[in-house]
């Protein structure tokens, strides 16, 4: 069971995870990661832009890679676009599997790729001014673990 979405409005992760879990009967474990906008450093807002012709196809390719690499029953990947405020979820990845490590590793894998290999650009507003956020060196190192 695969559920991939780009959302333009705030979402409640729990409202996605319950149905996702129910859609994978017989699962042994389900691992979920939710990333939220942090307000520290005076962040007032975050803006996520993307390139539509590539974004969803890229997320489906990422899901294909996760299903090929891990023994998964289901995978949910939801990413926000648009303007977000501190405390709002940006991303939610959930993987259901017979065994726990497949679920945990699939989430780790998908998050590393969404962070620095999917077609999103992020900028944050501090003191009323927008600043683009470059991927961090650690993010590239995290991604390289899977090569």
């Amino acid at each position: 069971m695969r559920d991939i979405r780009l959302l333009t409005e705030p979402f409640i992760p729990g409202s996605l995870i319950g149905p996702f879990s129910n859609a994978n009967p017989g699962l042994g474990g389900i691992c979920t990661f939710v990333g939220e906008v942090r307000g520290e450093g005076g962040v007032e807002a975050l803006e996520l832009t993307h390139y539509e012709p590539l974004t969803q196809p890229g997320m489906h390719q990422l899901a294909d890679a996760a299903f090929a690499r891990f023994h998964l029953m289901g995978l949910l990947m939801v990413h926000r676009i648009g303007t977000l405020y501190p405390g709002e979820p940006i991303v939610c990845v959930s993987a259901a599997a017979k065994h726990r490590r497949a679920a945990i590793e699939a989430v780790d894998f998908c998050m590393d790729h969404l962070k620095s290999a999917a077609w999103f650009w992020k900028r944050e507003k501090r003191s009323g001014r927008w600043h683009w956020i470059e991927p961090r060196t650690e993010d590239h190192a995290d991604l390289a673990r899977w090569e």
Binding site: V91, W119, F120, W132, E134, D139
Partner: protein, 80 residues
């Protein structure tokens, strides 16, 4: 006939506009001739990917955009 050229993410700030139009056919040299020197340097760096008609080019210097294509200039990404 024309193609749209999109400057994604921070490239839009560098270009001063999110998109421009150009005449077809358009190759990589033709595209670079349309933008400022600073942006030309940036576009030539390895950090920048180029998509044409919905496909990311393995080698951006192979760009050849035809009528109605959309060319997207893609800086380093940052999601999640």
């Amino acid at each position: 006939m024309t193609v749209r050229i999109l400057f994604l993410g921070p490239l839009g700030d560098l270009a001063g506009t999110p998109e421009i139009e150009a005449q077809t056919p358009l190759d990589w040299a033709g595209l670079l001739a349309l933008v400022s020197d600073a942006l030309t340097d940036e576009l030539q760096s390895e950090r920048i990917n180029v998509a044409c008609a919905g496909k990311v080019l393995a080698n951006k210097t192979d760009l050849l955009a035809r009528d109605g294509d959309e060319v997207a200039l893609l800086p380093p990404v940052s999601g999640g």
